[in-house]
C-alpha cells in the first residue's frame, strides 16, 4: 500500500491521475460541474461580499480610502432610536408586499394555466407591460392615481360630497399595494411555470371524490405548489426588507419609517459618500437571509413529495370551470385594468398635460403633444437604447445559463448544493449602490481593460440578477420527478447528460420566463449604470433619471410611455418567438 502511495505521488504516474479524473468525471460529472460552477459563482459573488464586509468594519478616510477597524457602523445601526418600530414596519411592509404579489400573481397564474377561462392573453400581456414601465414611473403613476388629487379621490369626493380625500395612499397599505404590484409580474411568471407542471391526475382524483373546485385548489393545487410559493415568498420578502424607493416616495411624508428609509436617508443626508452604514445593514441582512435559506432548504429537501412531472403522461389538463369561467375571465381583465390600464392611463394623462394636474374637464382642453415631441427630439437616445438592449440580452442569457445548472444541482441536493444555493442567493441583499462601488473598485484594480465598458456592467448585472434566474430554474426543477432522470441513468447517461437531455427541455418554459423577467428588469436598472457607465456605455434608465431629477413630470411621463411601448413590443416579440420554438411561457 505504501508503495502505491509513494508511487502515485511521482510525476511519472501522471497518466494514472488523468485516468482517475476521467473515472471521476464518468461516475459523477455533476460533482465536477458543480465545483466548476461554484468557482465561477464564487468569483462573481465573493469579491463584492468581501468588499461589503470589509466596508462595514472600516471607517472611510477623508480621501476615500479605508481607515481603521471599527464596529461603529453596527453600533449606530443598533442604537437607531426607533430600531424596533422601523424593523417591525419593515416586516409588515415586506410581508404585505409578498402577500399582495403572490395573491395577484398566483390567482392569475392559476386561471391562465389550470382553467379554461377566456381572455387569458390579457394576463400575459399585462405582466410584460407592467415590467416594461420604468420603475420610478410606475410608482409615480400609482401615487397620482391614489393621491389626494388623483381621479379616485376626485370620484369619491363627487359621490360623498366630502372635502377630505377618501383614500390616503401615503400610508402602510399604500406602500404595500404599490410594492406588491411591482412584484406581481415576477410571481405571475414564476407560478405559471409551476402550475403548468402540476399533474392533473391529483386534481382529477380529488374531483372524482366529490371535491368542488375551491377545495381542490386548496387541498391539491396549492399544496403541490408549496415549495414554489415559499421560494417566491422568501424572495419578495427579502426584496421588501431591502426596498427603498417605495417607502421613501410613498411613506416618508407621513413618517412611516422602515429600516431602509432610516439608513439610506442618513446616507443621503451626509455630505460625504460613506457607505459604511449601508454595508453594515447589508451584512446583517446577509446573515438573516442565510438563516432563512437554511430553513427553506429543509423544506426543499422533502421536495420529492411535490414532484408531479412523471414519466406517465405529464401534460396537465385544464379544469372546466363551467359558467365560472366567465368570472375567472373577468378576474383576469380586472387585474389587467389595475396593473396596466390604470397606471398607463394615469401616465398618458400626465404626458398630455402642459403641466402636472389632476383629471378634469378643463384639462381636456389643455391637451398637447408637446411633451412627446420633446421626448422624441432628445439627443443620445439611439445609442443609449442600443446599449440597453445589448446589455439586457447579454445579462439575461448569461444569468439564465448559469442559473439553469445551479437550479438543478440545488433542487436535486447534489454535492455542493448548499454552497451553490448560498452563492446564488446572496446578491439579493446587495444594495445597488454598494454593489456598484464594489464592482468599480474591483475592476479598477484588475489589469483587464474593461472598466467603464458595457461588459463591466454586464458582469455586475449578472451578479445582481443571479438570484432571480436561480429561483426560476429551481422551482422549475422541483416538480420534475426523479424517475425521469433515473430512466436516463438506467440507459447509461451521465448526470450532466441527464440534465442536458431530460431536465433542460422540461424546464425550458421556466427558463424562458426567467430570461424575459431578467431582460426587462435589466433594462430599467438604475443604481448600477449611474456609477458604472462610461461615456460610451450610457443606458436609457439613466437618461430617464435625468428627467426625473430635473425635467417636468409631464415630460418624464411622455418619455417613459414611449420607452414602455418599445419594450412591450420587444417582450411580446420574444414571447411569440419562444412559443414558435415550442418553449411555451404560457400554457395553452
Amino acid at each position: 500500500m505504501a508503495t502505491v502511495d509513494i508511487a502515485s505521488g511521482l510525476p511519472g504516474r501522471a497518466p494514472g491521475a488523468a485516468a482517475w479524473w476521467w473515472r471521476a468525471w464518468r461516475d459523477d460529472n455533476s460533482a465536477i460541474a458543480a465545483a466548476l460552477l461554484a468557482v465561477v459563482l464564487a468569483l462573481l459573488v465573493l469579491p463584492p461580499i468581501g468588499y461589503l464586509v470589509y466596508g462595514s468594519l472600516h471607517t472611510t478616510l477623508p480621501n476615500g480610502a479605508a481607515g481603521a477597524l471599527t464596529l461603529d457602523y453596527f453600533r449606530t445601526l443598533l442604537a437607531e432610536p426607533q430600531l424596533a418600530r422601523s424593523a417591525l414596519n419593515s416586516c409588515i411592509f415586506a410581508f404585505g408586499s409578498a402577500a399582495v404579489a403572490i395573491t395577484f400573481g398566483g390567482v392569475q397564474a392559476w386561471i391562465v394555466e389550470r382553467t379554461n377561462a377566456p381572455l387569458k392573453t390579457f394576463a400575459v400581456v399585462g405582466a410584460f407591460v407592467s415590467l416594461a414601465i420604468p420603475y420610478i414611473l410606475y410608482v409615480v403613476a400609482w401615487l397620482f392615481i391614489l393621491g389626494p388629487h388623483g381621479p379616485l379621490n376626485d370620484l369619491a369626493r363627487l359621490v360623498t360630497g366630502s372635502q377630505r380625500p377618501l383614500l390616503d395612499v401615503e400610508s402602510m397599505w399604500g406602500m404595500i399595494l404599490v410594492e406588491g404590484l411591482l412584484w406581481t409580474p415576477l410571481a405571475f411568471l414564476m407560478l405559471c411555470s409551476t402550475f403548468r407542471a402540476a399533474n392533473a391526475a391529483f386534481e382529477e382524483a380529488a374531483m372524482t371524490c366529490g371535491a368542488d373546485t375551491l377545495t381542490t385548489v386548496r387541498q391539491i393545487t396549492l399544496k403541490l405548489a408549496t415549495p414554489a410559493l415559499l421560494a417566491l415568498a422568501l424572495m419578495v420578502f427579502i426584496r421588501g426588507i431591502e426596498a427603498f424607493e417605495v417607502p421613501a416616495l410613498v411613506g416618508l411624508s407621513k413618517r412611516i419609517n422602515v429600516l431602509t428609509t432610516e439608513i439610506y436617508l442618513s446616507l443621503k443626508l451626509q455630505a460625504r459618500p460613506d457607505l459604511g452604514r449601508a454595508s453594515a445593514f447589508a451584512v446583517v441582512l446577509l446573515v438573516a437571509v442565510s438563516v432563512l435559506l437554511y430553513f427553506y432548504g429543509r423544506i426543499a429537501r422533502s421536495a420529492s413529495r411535490y414532484q408531479t412531472v412523471t414519466g406517465k403522461g405529464f401534460r396537465p389538463r385544464q379544469m372546466d370551470l363551467g359558467a365560472g369561467r366567465w368570472i375567472a375571465g373577468a378576474v383576469v381583465v380586472i387585474n389587467f385594468v389595475i396593473v396596466v390600464v390604470l397606471p398607463v392611463l394615469g401616465l398618458l394623462w400626465t404626458a398630455l398635460m402642459p403641466y402636472n394636474q389632476g383629471v378634469s374637464w378643463r384639462g381636456f382642453h389643455l391637451m398637447t403633444l408637446a411633451n412627446f415631441r420633446t421626448a422624441l427630439g432628445s439627443g443620445g437616445m439611439i445609442g443609449a437604447a442600443e446599449n440597453t438592449l445589448l446589455l439586457a440580452c447579454a445579462t439575461a442569457t448569461v444569468t439564465v445559463a448559469l442559473a439553469a445548472l445551479t437550479g438543478w444541482l440545488v433542487a436535486r441536493r447534489r454535492r455542493g448544493a448548499w454552497l451553490l444555493d448560498q452563492l446564488a442567493t446572496m446578491p439579493l441583499i446587495f444594495p445597488g449602490v454598494v454593489l456598484a462601488v464594489a464592482m468599480m473598485q474591483i475592476f479598477l484594480a484588475l489589469p483587464v481593460p474593461i472598466y467603464g465598458t458595457i461588459w463591466m456592467l454586464m458582469i455586475a448585472f449578472t451578479v445582481r440578477y443571479l438570484p432571480y434566474g436561480a429561483r426560476y430554474a429551481f422551482t422549475g426543477v422541483l416538480q420534475i420527478h426523479r424517475e425521469l432522470e433515473e430512466a436516463a441513468v438506467a440507459s447509461g447517461a451521465s448526470p450532466l447528460r441527464q440534465w442536458g437531455a431530460v431536465v433542460l427541455p422540461l424546464i425550458a418554459p421556466a427558463l424562458a420566463a426567467g430570461w424575459l423577467f431578467i431582460f426587462l428588469m435589466a433594462t430599467r436598472d438604475l443604481s448600477m449604470p449611474v456609477l458604472l457607465s462610461g461615456p460610451r456605455s450610457q443606458v436609457v434608465a439613466v437618461q430617464l433619471f435625468d428627467l426625473w431629477t430635473n425635467g417636468q413630470g409631464t415630460e418624464l411621463a411622455a418619455f417613459g410611455l414611449l420607452w414602455t411601448a418599445v419594450m412591450t413590443v420587444l417582450a411580446v416579440a420574444a414571447y411569440v418567438l419562444a412559443e414558435r420554438a415550442g418553449i411555451s411561457v404560457q400554457g395553452d
Binding site: 416618508l252 451626509q270 455630505a271 389632476g358 415631441r373 432628445s378 479598477l444 449611474v530 456609477l531
Partner: protein, 346 residues
Amino acid sequence: MRCRWHEPFRVAALIATSAFISSAAAAGLDAAVIAKAKQEGQVLFYTNLIVNQVVRPLAAGFEKAYGIKVEFIRADSQATILKVVNEFRAGKTQADVWNLSSGLDSLTDAGAIAKFKAPSADAYPPQYRDPNGTWVATNVYVNTPGYNTDLVPANVVPKTYQDLLDPRWKGKLVWKPNDISGATGFIGNILTAWGEQKGMDYLRKLAAQDINPVDASARAIVDRVIAGDFPIALQIFNHHTVISREKGAPVSWIAMEPTTLSLQIAGVTTGAPHPNAALLFVDYMISPEGQRIFQQVGYLPADPNVPAQVPALKPEGGHFKGNVLSPEALNAGLDHWTAVYKQLFH
C-alpha cells in the same frame, strides 16, 4: 432647468453666433495651450448638469469653436465624487473636467483635483472663484419658497420667514430632507445669515409647523405643488416655477430674503489625460459665450455681466438679497445642518 433643448434651431443659432466670438474670448489663454489642446483632440467631462438641457449645447459650442470633442458622463454629485475619487486612487483618472454642486471637500481631501488658471475667471467676483485656484462657478442656483397660486391667495402669500410661522401653514409646507435644494440648504441659509442663536430660535418655531418631508427631486416637488398636493414648498429652484408658469401652471416663487444662492462649480482633475483641453473647456464654460449658452437654455449664468433669460431670477436682475453658500461654507456647515434637521424635524 429651463427646457429649451427641444428647440434645436435656437441652440444651433446660438452655437453659430458663439463661434464668431470664441477666438476673441480665448485670447486670454496661451496660444500654446490651445495648440496642445487641439492636439489632445478630446476632453472627458464628469457633471451633474442635465445632459439634454445644457451639456449637449455646451459640448456642441466647444466642438464648433475648437474642433475638440467633448465626451461626458452625467451623475449626481455624490456619484460623481465616488467615480472621480476611486479612479484617481487606482491611478486610472478618466475625467479631465469635473463639475458638481456639493461635496467639494471629498475631492480636495483625496487630492483628486488640480489647480488651474482660467483667464476668464478674472471677471468673476471673489465668492464665485477659489482663491487657491481649484474651482470656479459655472452657474448659480437660487433656492427659495414656491407656492400654488390657486391655493394661496395673493393677500396671504408669505413674504418673510416670519410669515411662514403663521398657524394657517401648519402641515401645509413641504421640502425634501436632504440637499441644498431641501431642508439642509434651508437650515444652512438661516443659520449662516442670522447666526446660530437667532437662527436656531427661528428653526425651533418652524419645526412646530409639521413640515412634510418628501424624498423626491426639487423639480418633482414643484410638480406636486402644481398638482395641489401641497400649497407651499420651502426650498425649490426659482426658475422651475417660471418654466411651468409659462405653460399655464398655477405656481410662482417668492424672493424670501435672503434667498439661498448656491454654486455649480467646475475644475480640472489631477492627472487629467487631456490637461490642456481640460483647461480650455473650463475657460470656455465661464467665458462670455459659454455663459450665454447657460443663459439661452434657461440656467442662471455665474458671470454677473451675463443676465438670466428672465433677468428677475438672478439677485442682480431681481434686486433681492442672496446669501451665497460657498463650497467652503458647505464643507464647514453641512454636517451641523444635517444634525439640526435630524434633531428638530425628523
